[in-house]
Amino acid sequence: MKILVNAAYRLVQLMNFLGAAAAIVMTAMVFTGAVMRYFFGAPLRFSDEMVGLLFISMAFLAIPLGVFRNRHITIDILSRNIPRPWAHLVNAVALLILMLFSAAFIMTSYQFMDFSREITARSDIGSLLLWPWMAIMPFCMSVAFLVAVLQFLDSFRVLAGKESFFPGEDEAASDDTEEGSL
């Protein structure tokens, strides 16, 4: 399982790199669009659409890493005061909720993408083929789902007294400073 967790980490990290690249392209496109319109009177035709598509890519690509590092917002006023054995159970239920939600989202977003592929839906102005962009939603959520499953399994190892394969919150924070090594 350690291997799986490591592989998952590599994957979510790679997705984070791709997301950051999307953010860079997005920012550059918005900037260029304004300059082109103002100085050259020639607005980029479908830059708004393209920016929207990069935006959704960036947003979804970043979700799995957030799951991996426990970065997503929770309300833990009650749960953090729950005593030990029960805390594990509660944590497992929390992960179950995450898994259920991801599963529902994967199914519906897959259908959305698949239907768009069938009818070859295209964007309004630039006529960009949309389904590959739509596929980012179920794909990223599937990775988030897998990470949640690994965490779910890991939580039972922890319950059995073994050490977690996932970084704790402190480790995750220190991890931030090392990730620029690309």
Binding site: A62, I75, I97, L182
Partner: protein
Amino acid sequence: MTWGILAGALLLTLVTGAVLGASLGLAGFVLLEFQAGGATDLAITSVWNVFTDFTLSAVPIFIILGDILLASGVSTRIYNGLTPLFHRIPGRLLHTNIAVTTIFGAVSGSSTSTAAAIGSVGYPELSRRGYDKPAIVASLAAGGTLGLLIPPSLSLLIYGATQNVSIGKLFLAGIIPGLIIAVGFSLYLMLASLLKPELTPNDEEKPGSREILHGLGQIWPLPILIFFVLGTIYLGFATVTEAAAMGVMAAILLGFLWGDLTLRKLWRSFLSSTVIFGAIAMILLGTIILAQAISILGLPRDLVDYIATLGLSKYEVLVLVVLVYLLLGCFFDGISLLLMTLPISFPLMMALGFDPIWFGVIVTILMEVGMITPPVGLNLFVLVTMTNREVDLGQASWATAPFWLVMVLSVVLFTLFPEIVLFLPSFY
């Protein structure tokens, strides 16, 4: 039944500490599947629409801008420069949060862009200097809402266009109430830090006028940044999203020339801003799905409809309408709530003789209140995410409550003295 599912979902979230986006979204899916006849495809269409919207893309770009300013040390120097100036005022640099969000609100039409733009720099700089963390978050979240009231305002635009009310008059009407609320926020901050000195760091030595002047000399990049972000909007060079990108370019230049930005730090800024935005995206996902479920069930409309059938007096209806907006504000954010309720609430209020301009401002304030009302409050989410979970949603909400109260009191004030709202537009 619907309310039962909502309450159950909240309880489960609270007890288990589940990822909030997931539990709200799951509640949305359950409602769509079992209450709306299996209409789960609505969940994805609305997510797709929101996440491919050009306007919203301003939010991550502002977060990137803030991250670059931090990484390059430019923002640190600016805040260092401002510190002596604010030393004597109780609350000190916390006031910069209100002041800057007010100024920023004057160019940005959206509350969340404002919170994102200021929060990504304001939080790290102030918390590093020892200010009370929840207080920083609360002042930023509340200050951010001013973006909706001070023109230009997305909410007033939509109100004007859908209800055929002059947008120019609405914009004028928003100015004084916006400033009054900003002053109210600042007064509260002064009061709070007089009562609780631990809100601000305790460094005793008082800066002299020389230090203040020296400090001001340090902030020269600020006008440059302000020009790139605010000036370009006012000059018609750029929209808000474009101005965010202008700011990023300016920050990169300043960072390399004046700060200590490196390519490595720049890349890391993009990486960490995407992680932050990923967390915001997750919660957005959940709230979009839940909001879609509630709106397809027609709940907001039923509530407002119900008030209309009670046959109450003018001000009784107003009180109930305000209460309904406050209740719905728990589950919705800003614009979606406006679109769902206005077709019913507007004719209802007009029939009772309220002024259309006045009601536009009141409704906008209520939208703003919704942005900081938990459990679904986008400004809170954005800022809590930016703290890297140093502040949790509960602490943030609690610290925001007084600001919430200031806004609700302002509604009372503007009801008692509607001329405060209607004074400026009367000249138009």
